[in-house]
């Protein structure tokens, strides 16, 4: 009961906050407190959305960005999770790669975006690679940490009952890793979005980042803001999705956070 109410309250106040800011923004714009050409206004953004979604001109940009994001992030998961599990499990592999990984992990990848575009061109490939790089390290590092955080007493139970190494991995290592992995995915999903936009704003001929950059040069701030709104919406949806997956996996330890 209490839980239900807080969930509803969260939604209620969240929507209220959004509506309030939007109204204040619109009113301030109408009162002439700032120049609409610089900060636009909710109504102008809405009009831009109606126009561009109505004519369909925004769809190619959306699908391009989503494709880049999906491919890059998917590849980061597909490579990062197994590699992270392997590095976490095999000490030798860990010795061999961990310094390198942590080194690259802490360098700002966005800084090498120009280089990647130079090498791979302004098409899909450069974006996918940048998204991959931004997401991959968060995922692999958190997976490795998860494997190593598996409790020794749980390993002891598996060994005590004579579990095979594979069973020990499935029954002890994997479940212990899940919370860490999900945190990694949450961080990675935000970084990957930055990757898409940065790469598209640098050099592209399609995508939401390109759309924002393009109309920005024409001082069409409503469309730039529309891009921001779309990115924000995507971010919220993604965060909510990860939150649900976390809930699903953590029925067994509801009091941990």
């Amino acid at each position: 009961m209490a839980r239900l109410r807080t969930a509803n309250e969260r939604l209620f106040y969240g929507v209220l906050g959004f509506v309030l800011i939007t109204v204040i923004w619109e009113v301030a714009a109408n009162l002439g407190l700032f120049r609409r050409s610089l900060l636009s206004s909710p109504l102008l953004i809405w009009n831009a959305a109606v126009t561009d979604f109505g004519s369909g001109t925004i769809w190619p940009h959306l699908t391009t960005s989503l494709t880049e994001y999906g491919l890059g992030f998917g590849a980061a998961l597909a490579v990062g999770v197994p590699l992270g599990l392997a590095i976490g499990t095999f000490r030798r592999l860990n010795d061999f790669l961990s310094v390198l990984l942590f080194g690259i992990y802490s360098t700002p990848k966005a800084a090498v975006a120009p280089l990647i575009i130079l090498v791979l061109g302004i098409g899909l490939e450069s974006k996918v690679v940048l998204v991959f790089l931004l997401a991959f390290f968060s995922i692999i590092v958190s997976t490795m940490a998860g494997v190593q955080a598996a409790a020794e007493r749980h390993h002891d139970i598996a060994r005590s009952f004579g579990a095979s190494r594979w069973l020990e991995f499935r029954s002890v290592v994997l479940p212990s890793t899940v919370p860490f992995l999900l945190t990694g995915i949450r961080i990675a999903s935000g970084r990957a979005l930055v990757g898409v936009v940065v790469a598209e704003e640098l050099a592209a001929n399609q995508g939401i980042g390109f759309y924002m950059d393009f109309f920005g040069t024409f001082l069409d701030t409503s469309r730039v803001m529309l891009g921001v709104v779309l990115l924000g919406t995507f971010g919220i949806a993604l965060g909510e999705f990860v939150r649900r997956v976390e809930k699903r996996f953590e029925v067994w330890r509801p009091d941990i956070r």
């Binding site: 749980h154 139970i157 060994r159 009952f161 004579g162 067994w252």
Partner: protein
């Protein structure tokens, strides 16, 4: 049921390890000779750090002894021994049923069959109706019941119990002791029970092995001739007090040693 056969036989078991901080070689167990008869309930009692849990882990195969030999009788049904661990020893991500079935799954039994075979053990330890719960939904006493059921499920010759009731409150602890005797009477297992509580050891055991402070060795092997089945009231009998007193005097000579524990 004691058949006169030997379930466990340990000869000259010695355990040394290197202390990480000082790099000194520490002797955890000096030398242990122990025979446990089939169906016997034997407690290892001693101050903390005396190597009693270490000995259990050596028997279980979790640790490798520096020297010595351990022989276990097999019943041909799989594992010779199964461990009941100290507190928080269930997998939080498994239901009670899957936790209890885990030992069987480790032994290669298909999950479905393992679950089917785990069910009666859940009933035996008094957890009927809780099979689908997760460990966090159980009290400490109930978690230890599941822990015990998991070890019983593999139907091993010997049950190794490593201070299984140490973190329970006094009342639950007493209740669990009585429950353990009831289950032991049904399951007919050889039990090696590690504890540092004199009263617990006397109440449960056929024999109490009193160990010295580190380096661990056997100070005394005391046969407890209290009639079975034992109700909890037996703890108020004069013979019980005599045993407890005798052991207490032995342990009193083993004042806590100074040094890393």
């Amino acid at each position: 049921m004691v058949t006169g056969q030997t379930a466990l036989s340990a000869r000259g078991v010695r355990m040394e390890y290197r202390d990480r901080a000082s790099d000194a070689r520490l002797v955890a167990i000096e030398s242990m000779d122990l025979d446990v008869g089939d169906g016997e309930f034997v407690s290892l009692l001693g101050p903390s750090g005396c190597g009693k849990s270490t000995f259990l882990k050596i028997v279980n195969g979790l640790l490798l002894a520096t020297a010595g030999e351990i022989r276990l009788r097999t019943n041909g049904k799989g594992r010779e021994d199964a461990m009941v661990f100290q507190d928080a020893a269930l997998f939080p991500w498994y239901s009670v049923l899957d936790n209890v079935a885990y030992g069987l799954v480790c032994a290669g039994v298909a999950r479905k069959e393992a679950r089917r075979r785990a069910q009666p053990l859940i009933e035996l330890v008094g957890l009927g109706g809780f099979a689908d719960k997760y460990p966090y939904q159980l009290s400490g006493g109930m978690q230890q019941r599941a822990n015990l059921a998991r070890a019983l499920a593999v139907d091993s010759e010997i049950l190794l119990m490593d201070e299984p009731f140490a973190s329970l409150d006094a009342q639950t602890r007493e209740l669990m002791q009585a429950e353990l005797l009831r289950i032991w009477n049904t399951a007919k297992k050889t039990v090696i029970f590690v504890t540092h509580q004199i009263e617990e050891a006397v109440y449960l055991s056929d024999r109490v092995i009193v160990m010295s402070a580190r380096p661990g060795r056997i100070l005394a092997d005391i046969r407890i001739e209290l009639q079975r089945p034992r109700a909890l009231e037996v703890k108020r009998r004069p013979e019980f007090a005599n045993y407890a007193d005798q052991i207490w005097k032995l342990l009193a000579t083993q004042a806590a040693p100074v040094g890393p524990s």
